[in-house]
Structure formats: C-alpha cells, structure tokens
C-alpha cells in the first residue's frame, strides 16, 4: 500500500529508499571479506612473484598432497556416517516428544554451540588426556569432529521430521505396516531432504576442518586443512597454500553439486529407489 502510494506521488519521495539499497552494507562486506580474499587466493595460486605459473597447482596435485585430501575425505565420511547414526535417532525421538519437552532437550544440543569450538576441543583434550589413552590418535580426532558437528545433523533432520504429517504415519499403519515398516517405508524416505542437508552441513565442514585434528591428533593426523595451515603459517608459502585452497574449493563445490542432486532426488525419486 505504502509503496504504491509513494509511486503515485513522486514529489514526496525525495528521501525514498529503494529496497535493494538495504542489501548494500552486506554487498560491501562480501566484496571486501569474501570476494577479494578469493580473488587473492586465485591470484597467488596461479602466479609466482607476479608472473603466471601452473607450478604450484601441479605441486598441489601431487600424490603426497592428494593422499592428505583422501585422508580428509575419509575422516569426513566417518564423521558424517557417525553423526547420521547418532543424530537421526535423536532427531526422531525429539520429533515424537511433546513440543515443550523437545524444546527443553534441544537446549542441550544448542548450548554447547554457544561456546567457541576451540574451547570445546581444548576441553576434550584435557578430558581425553586425563581419563583415556586415546588422546593423539585418530579416534580422538574423530570423536572431536563428531562432537562438534553432531548438532548440524540433528537440527535439519529434526526440522523435517517435525513437519511430517501425522496422517502419513496413520495411513501406513492403516494399510498394515507395523512400526518398523512404517518407519522404513514412510518416515525415512520422507525425511530424506533433512538427511541430505544434514549430511551437507556435516560433510563439508568436516572435510575442511583443521584445528580439531591438530589439538586432538597431536600432529600425527594430517588433514587437508592442517596442510593449508602449515603452508601459509609455518612455511609462509602463500602460493602453495593458495593452490591447495583452490583444489579444496573445487572439491567442495563438486560435492555440494552432488548433494544438491541427491536432494532433488530425495524429494522426487527417493521412494522408488528405496522400494
């Protein structure tokens, strides 16, 4: 209403602000802190002392580095699978509870997220060192990653499950499916969009993480993030670090495209495939 009035009386619109203008501050922010660093990374990855070269990229694609990428993917896969196995049942139980109980319980998942993840990881380091002998092993790294990323699996799955219409469950039961089959044939397929976004939200940060492996792996476990960190900070080689970053970026974009495809499949064809 107001907008159309303003259009009718252009004389009153001396200080009229276009809605798109509100996006301005963020666009400036993006340009300075997201776009320009990206461009810098690309610049460093493809140059050496100002002249174009593919040398660093070729080095970054070498087997030694590629093996670290595979290791990172392996860890990310383990983390994702564990988060899914742990998180789905939690999300399912939460979604079947009374709203108030579920809200109270989800506080337990959300409150730790208010604390910086480095602090949480340091806490694990102390705990694992004091009470177990797994500190500085792959298990410790995995535990730290699962602990940090679990909420990102639970929340999207919970959100899809809570929106699931009760009548679908009743319909399945009405058609002869017991609780197990109702879950497998109706609830699970219908919650696939939540699972896909949970997987995306866990897998991608897990692939690129670095601090957890350093703190809990004690330097024995080298992940791709650690490698980039090392190139930039320890070796001060911005070109090598940038080249590795570009490779990781491409890998992340590829896996996101893959997930997007899976997500579309989850809402359209998932049922067919599960049957």
């Amino acid at each position: 209403m107001k907008r159309s009035n303003a259009k009718k009386k252009p004389g009153t619109g001396a200080f009229r602000i276009k809605r798109s203008l509100f996006a301005g501050p963020y666009i400036v922010w993006m340009a300075i802190f997201i776009l320009s660093p990206m461009l810098l990374i690309l610049y460093y990855a493809f140059t050496s002392d100002g002249s174009f070269t593919l040398e660093y990229l070729r080095a970054a694609l070498g087997w030694d580095y590629f093996r670290v990428l595979l290791d990172s993917v392996r860890f990310a896969l383990y983390t994702t699978v564990l988060c899914l196995l742990l998180g789905y049942p939690v999300a399912y139980l939460l979604s079947r509870m009374k709203k108030s109980t579920a809200a109270l319980l989800s506080v337990f998942f959300i409150v730790p997220m208010w604390m910086n993840f480095l602090l949480r990881t340091y806490a694990w380091k102390v705990l694992l060192g004091a009470f177990t002998n797994i500190l500085y092993t792959e298990s410790a790294v995995l535990l730290g990653m699962v602990y940090n990323f679990l909420p990102f699996m639970i929340l999207p799955v919970y959100t899809t499950l809570i929106k699931l219409d009760e009548s679908y469950i009743e319909a399945a039961s009405d058609l002869g499916a017991n609780a197990t089959r109702t879950f497998l044939k109706v609830v699970l397929p219908l919650s696939m969009p939540g699972v896909v976004s949970g997987v995306t939200m866990v897998f991608i940060p897990s692939t690129t993480t670095f601090a957890i492996s350093q703190l809990l792996g004690g330097g024995k476990t080298m992940l791709y993030g650690d490698l980039i960190y090392m190139k930039f900070i320890t070796e001060q080689s911005w070109n090598a670090g940038s080249a590795l970053s570009v490779i990781l970026l491409v890998f992340v974009l590829l896996s996101m495209a893959l997930m997007k495809k899976a997500e579309r499949g989850a809402s359209e064809e998932e049922g067919d495939r599960l049957w």
């Binding site: 219409d165 009548s167 679908y168 009743e170 319909a171 399945a172 039961s173 009405d174 058609l175 002869g176 499916a177 017991n178 089959r181 044939k185 109706v186 397929p189 219908l190 696939m192 809402s267 359209e268 998932e270 049922g271 067919d272 049957w275």
Partner: protein, 459 residues
C-alpha cells in the same frame, strides 16, 4: 446387507484432556451396510471413526468386531481401511506404489500386485495414471487414489472421513453416486463421516446423528427425515418448521391455536410437544374457505421451487412450492395429517451445584449469589441443587446484569429461539424472541421466586 452385527460399540466414551468427545455411545454396524455418522463439527463423529480404525483407544467401553474385543488389536492388524480427510497419499510414491503399499506390506507377489492395482485403477477411472506422482493429480483424482489404496486391500470395513469435503459441488455429486455404486457392487461395509446432511440422505442405509458426543438418532434416511426424534435432528437434517404444540389426544394436536389431525398417538392427553412439518409438505390453497390463512412475507426462487414465508399470526410457516405466489398476498395453508410429526418435548432445566446461605436468603452458583426463597431447612453453606426453567432465564444487555456469558448456539424452535449460553464453565439454556449471534455477550438474570432449591443428593 445382512443382519449380522459386524462392529459393535458398547458404552464407549472418549475425552481429550477433559473435553468430552464421545459420551456412553452404543452402536452396532451391520455387515455390508452404508452407515453415515452425521453431525456438526465437534460432535464426535471423527473420534468415533478413529476409535474404529484403532488410532485412538476408548477411555471406557468396548469395541467389538465379529464379536471379539479389538481393544488390543493395533490398526495395522485390523481388517479395516481408511480414506483420510486430506487423503494422506504418500508424496514420495507414485500412484501405482501408493495403491500397492498395503499389498507389498502383506508380501503379495509382484505379478498379482500388478493385476490388482491395475484393476483398482480401472475401478476408480484412473487407468494409465499409475506412473504419476500425487502432486500431479487434481483433488478429485487424489481422492480416487485414496479410495483405491484402501479398497485394494479388500477390507471388511472402509472408513471414510469427510472424503468429499475438498471437492467442488459438481464433482462431489458425481463422487457420491460413484461411491454408493462401488459400495453396493463390492458389498463392503462403509462407515462414512460427514457434516453434510444431503450427502448423508442420498448415500446411506443408516444415518447416525451425533451432537456433543451423544447419539441423537439412529435410523434410515427416511426415518430421520420424516420422524426426527428431537428438534436438533429436525433442524439439522433438511429444512423444517419446528413448532411447539399441545397434543390434545391421540391423533389431535393444537399448533399455534389451530387443531390439526395428525397420525401420531401415545403422548397422553394435553401434553406439551414439539411438532415438525417439512416445508415441502405444506400446501398453499386459496385463502377463502381455508382453515388457516396468512400473508406472504417473502418469496425466494430456489431453482426448483419457491421458498415462501407465510405469517399466520404468531407463527411464520416456511413453505416450499413450485407455484408462484406474490409477496403480500393473502393465502391459505393446508397441512395434511401425515405431514405433521410429533416429538416429545425435550425437557430442559438448568441445574447447578449451589451453596445455600439461608440467613441471607441467597444461593451461590456460577460464582454469583442469587436472592432465592424456599431455603428453610437448609444449614448455612449446605451444598444444594438449584434449578431454573429455561423460560425463567432472562437474557439482558451485558451491562444490565452482574452475571454475563457468551452465546454458544442459537436454534429456532418455531415461536422462539433456544439459546445456550456458556458462563463460568456452566451452560445455561434460555429462550429468546430474537436471534442471538454465537459469540455474542449477554447478561443473565433470574428472579428470586424462579429458583427452586433441593438437597444435593450427590454430596
């Protein structure tokens, strides 16, 4: 249809957190019949359906199928299938797999599933639609998939929860006929929930009229239409003239000062009754020589007939006729004896738990003290029952009374409206000459000599 009782509800009650949905319901459903649960929203009809399906358990009473209690039989083991109100078709499956769902669960082999599903698709006129997804179908098509998905399992009983509610009028009419044909051809018991009285009348073998969780009447469509048991049923099913009268003797009733012949008997002499006369059963005759005459107040063309209101001094008859009469014309009306249906007067008294204060000459109920006589013999603060006849409840403007409430329902009873008013969790029944909008606030007052107090036996 045969006489075997397939499903029996015995003294079944169900409440949701204190709100009574069904109260001591007894009902049997015969094998192969088309039974409709009819009533306004919140009357308990869907609750009854969900109890039979097994999605909810009764608080009290038993539900039997084939003579065996099915309380502990979960829905997935009952030979009952449901067509849900919003169909609840699985969005992740195509039409074929939706219909095949039940068969696959039972482990029927693939070739047989294909034959059965294709046959079902043909039955519901959706041949060739198997590969489509639910969202690609229109409401009417989804509805038919829902029916096919239920019927393919060859249930003994099919439950339908307002299945035609989302369809437009024309499609609804077509589906009514289709459903009825299907039911007769397959010989399956249909239990059908609706609030649409016309739907109930066209399709059913038996209609169960529900109100506030209580069965008002069970009968064939002609029974409930021609012989409604009480004003609620008469008012809910079809249009009707409901008029209080006095049954002078068998076959003679006085309505609005005129004595009519009727076909009812057994009410005793000079008994207060309510009479129902359907608008289409009243004939308009020339005013000269007619026993009853009146002036035409309004004429509305309804397509097939005219709806004519005739004011006969004290009562306005609603008449449906195919012959046009002019507004303001003087006409006579004639009511044949078999058009008058006599109902027992529903005696309604407002009864409240109250506390006596004889020293002040007051009783307290609904959170307020009322001046009241006849308190001799009661001690101070004795628990008593206070009774007020609906005719003695005066509804006033809210600011004129200390006690106020909100109108819950208002029903025309021929000469006056019967109004139920919710007030401080109690419900009052009162009479009013004017229509009152549900939700409207109203004052309530009662004269001291109109409250009769008796000992509260429950204490």
């Amino acid at each position: 249809m045969n006489e075997k009782h397939l499903i029996e509800l015995i003294d079944v009650s169900k409440a949701y957190g204190g709100d009574v949905a069904l109260s001591h319901v007894d009902l049997y459903i015969k094998d192969g019949e088309f039974l409709t649960l009819l009533g306004p929203s919140g009357c308990g009809k869907t609750t009854m359906l969900r109890l039979i399906a097994g999605f909810i358990m009764p608080d009290e009473g038993r539900i039997e199928m084939d003579g065996a209690d099915i309380a502990n039989v979960p829905p997935y083991k009952r030979k009952i299938n449901t067509v849900f109100q919003k169909y609840a078709l699985f969005p992740h499956l195509n039409v074929f797999d939706n219909i095949a769902f039940g068969l696959k669960i039972r482990g029927v082999d693939k070739a047989e599933i294909k034959i059965k599903v294709e046959a079902m698709l043909e039955l519901v006129n959706l041949k060739g639609y198997g590969g489509r997804y639910v969202e690609q179908l229109s409401g009417g098509q989804q509805q038919r998939v829902a029916i096919a998905r239920a019927l393919v399992n060859e249930p003994q009983v099919l439950l339908l929860d307002e299945p035609l509610g989302a369809l437009d009028l024309k499609l609804r009419k077509e589906m009514q006929v289709e459903l009825k044909n299907m039911q007769q051809r397959l010989g399956i018991t249909f239990i059908y929930v609706t609030h649409d009285q016309e739907e109930a009348l066209t399709m059913s073998d038996t209609i169960v009229v529900l109100k506030d969780g209580v069965i008002q009447q069970i009968g064939s469509p002609t029974d409930v239409y021609n012989e409604p048991k009480n004003p609620f049923v008469a008012d809910f099913i079809g249009e009707s003239n409901i008029i209080p009268g006095i049954m002078l003797q068998d076959y003679k009733v006085r309505l609005n000062g005129v004595v009519y012949e009727c076909v009812d008997k057994g009410f005793g002499r000079n008994t207060e009754v309510d009479a129902v006369v359907r608008p289409e059963d009243i004939d308009i005759v020339p005013a000269e020589g007619a026993r009853v005459s009146g002036r035409v107040v309004s004429v509305v063309f309804m397509g097939v007939h005219y709806e004519v209101d005739v004011d006969c001094g004290g009562y306005e008859w609603v008449i449906q006729t195919t012959d046009y009469v002019a507004k303001d014309a003087l006409v006579g009306i004639s009511i044949p004896p078999d058009a008058i249906h006599i109902m027992e007067k529903t005696q309604q008294t407002n009864l409240f738990d109250a506390v006596a204060y004889p020293e002040d000459g007051e009783v307290e109920f609904c959170g307020k003290r009322f001046a009241c006589g006849g308190l001799e013999g009661f001690e101070a603060k004795d628990a008593v029952l206070a009774a007020v006849a609906p005719a003695d409840v005066r509804l006033t403007a809210p600011q004129e009374s200390e006690l106020t409430g909100f109108v819950k329902a208002c029903m025309f009873l021929g000469t006056h409206y019967q109004v139920s008013v919710t007030c401080d969790e109690e419900e009052w029944i009162a009479y009013s000459d004017d229509y009152m909008e549900p939700g409207e606030e109203t004052g309530i007052s009662v004269d001291a000599d109109k409250i009769s107090v008796s000992a509260n036996e429950a204490e």
